[in-house]
Every structure is written in C-alpha cells, then in structure tokens.
Symmetry: C2
Subunit: 165 residues, 2 copies
DNA sequence: AGGCTGGCTATCAACTAGGAAAGTCAGGTG
DNA sequence: CACCTGACTTTCCTAGTTGATAGCCAGCCT
C-alpha cells in the first residue's frame, strides 16, 4: 500500500511538506507520559493521585504534564471539594482532548496486535450493549469503510471531486 | 465522554494496568522522527535520501531509525540496483508497519483540526475515485459507526456478548 | 497551637532524542 | 590508479523526558 497523491501533489518531486500536522501533534502529545495520562482520562480518571497511581508515573511528571496539557487546552481544570477536605482540582478532557481518542486507541489496537502475546493484550474495545469488537480505521464521512488501497491525499483547496480522466 | 468498563473491570479500584499496549507502542514508535519516517513510507518513499530530504531529518537519525524500525519489523530492507550505480537498499513497509496507518493518520487528523489555522493544514485524506473526505474513527467489525459514548472496555477473555440485565 | 495529609513544586542525576559535522567505505568514473 | 559520490556511521553537544527524593503549603484534626 502506498497512498495516491492527487492534483498538484501528483509529482512528488515538486513539493515538500512544511507544516506537517503529524509533526505538530507529536510535539504536543508525543511522549509516553502524555499518552498514558490521556489513556487514564479516557478511562474516566480526573484526579491527581488517581493519575499517579494508575499510570505509575512519578507525581512530579504527572503534575508537569497535567499543567502542560491544561495550558494546551486538552484538559479543563475544575475545583472540587470533598467534605472535610480543602479545595482540590479535577482534570477533565475538553473536546480538543477527546478528539485524541482515535490516536490513543489506534496505538492500543496496534500494540494489542503486534506487541503482545497471542492473547492480544489485556484490554479490548467493544461496543456497549452489543459487545461487538470495535476497530479504529478509515471510513468516508458518509460512513463507508475505505480500503487502505483506495485512499488518496489532496492538498487543501485542491480538490473538487473526482476529475474526468 | 468516559468509557465504560465491563465485567471484572467494572470496579476501577480493584485492578491496575500492567501490560498497557499504548505504553508499549509508544516505546516503539513514540518519537517524532519515527512518525515522520512512517508518514513518508505511507506516501510511498522507500529510499534513504528521499527520507532525509522529505522529512528534513538529519541523515544520522534517519539511518538509525530505519535500522531500528527494520529490526522491529516495520520495514523490509530490499536490495536494488540502478544502472551504473552500486547496490543500495530500499525500505518497504511490512504488514506490521502498514497497520500503523490509523495511528499516523489519526495524528494528522487531530493536528489538522486543532493545531493548524482555519485552513485545517496542508493535506487531507480522501477516498480515491469519489474524492469523499475520509476520517479515522471507531466502528464495529460489522461496519457500523460507533458513537464514542457507546464504547466500552473489556478484559481479554472476559466477554461473551451482552449479558442479560 | 502543633501535627498530619495530600496535592503539588524543586532539585538532581541518568538516559534518550536530535542536530551538526566529520569519517568510512563500496564501487563507479576519468 | 586517484578521485568522487552516496549511503551510511561515529562523535560531540545540547535539550528534553523520566525517576527519585525532598520540600512546600493549605487546611483539617486534636
């Protein structure tokens, strides 16, 4: 499989990628600790000590990452107060953070398949209710699955539907 | 959104994740340089100097990564020879490497939406032929889209379809 | 008031990622 | 044969990630 380039991109020797979104994303969330904290957040964790216990990452790093991810806008920091305790903060995923869902679970899916024993790793994603296995993959906005062979890359603003050949 | 845990996982306080596939995946491909090299590989690049030019990563790092990713089994190293040149090697994605497709393009999708200007970044994925926009997301193996709200996590071997309530 | 607890903060050291630049080496060219 | 080129390799250096350990401080408890 290799992707097809459409339009102005067709000749690969005439352009180079400057503003790569993949590179930018990696600079924001491209660390093990960020990913594990995000994993926990998807699992419903919101409090500092739960993050540290469940990820087994040191508290200094968790504190630094939560701050950083909050500044970037992946977490929303909300005060809460338990009876008899002072005010603390909970960290809730924002929409921007939730949108990382495919990234985090595509990593899990790949690790389950290729880095674990034959059992396929400890956890799996299923649909609630039916229990049907869930996969992270490509589909068109209208909901059809897309075979990886049939994918193409276009430049922004360089596509007006299929061209007559 | 936070995921539901099914079966033995239901009480979050009784278990801790040891063998996390996300952590394992990040240790293998969790660097900017690996991701950019994979990006180029999906774009069809196979040769050393094309990787260095198109990713703008130094040759030392590209060499180290290609070797490492080949050892891990993401690339297959094949000799080739151009007329008047000596034998060189091309790096082709294996199935294991190709399976990282959702990871790489989920990162691109997220970066396009959240880290670029209003234009949404330089490149987009479409279906070849129809030109319809493509998204990376969750669906059941039978092909239905799954709303992130309706996802659940189960432990391996701990699910036999929906239970009577 | 004084001690304790929990959520951070600060410091230090080990390790890794990455850029730059020079070195190596097979093999083709003059 | 000497030279050159392209594909790496090696070395050096800087910056960032991580773990470990210790410190800080608000506010509850006695």
């Amino acid at each position: 499989m290799s992707l097809t380039f459409e339009g102005v991109l067709a000749d690969r020797s005439t352009w180079r990628l400057d503003d790569c979104s993949i590179a930018k994303s990696m600079e924001v969330v491209g660390t093990r600790s960020s990913m594990l904290i995000l994993r926990e957040a998807f699992y419903g964790t919101t409090r500092f000590d739960d993050f540290t216990r469940r990820t087994r990452i040191g508290d200094a790093i968790v504190a630094a990452r939560l701050k950083e991810l909050t500044v970037i806008g992946l977490f929303d920091r909300r005060p809460y107060r338990e009876p008899g305790k002072r005010t603390r903060y909970e960290y809730h995923l924002t929409d921007k953070g939730r949108d990382l869902f495919p990234v985090v679970f595509a990593l899990m899916q790949w690790g389950n398949k290729h880095l674990q024993g034959d059992d396929g790793g400890p956890l799996r994603l299923v649909e609630q209710g039916t229990g049907e296995a869930v996969v992270i993959g490509a589909r068109t906005v209208s909901g059809r699955d897309v075979d990886p062979e049939d994918l193409a890359i276009v430049a922004h603003g360089d596509w007006a539907g299929p061209q007559p050949s």
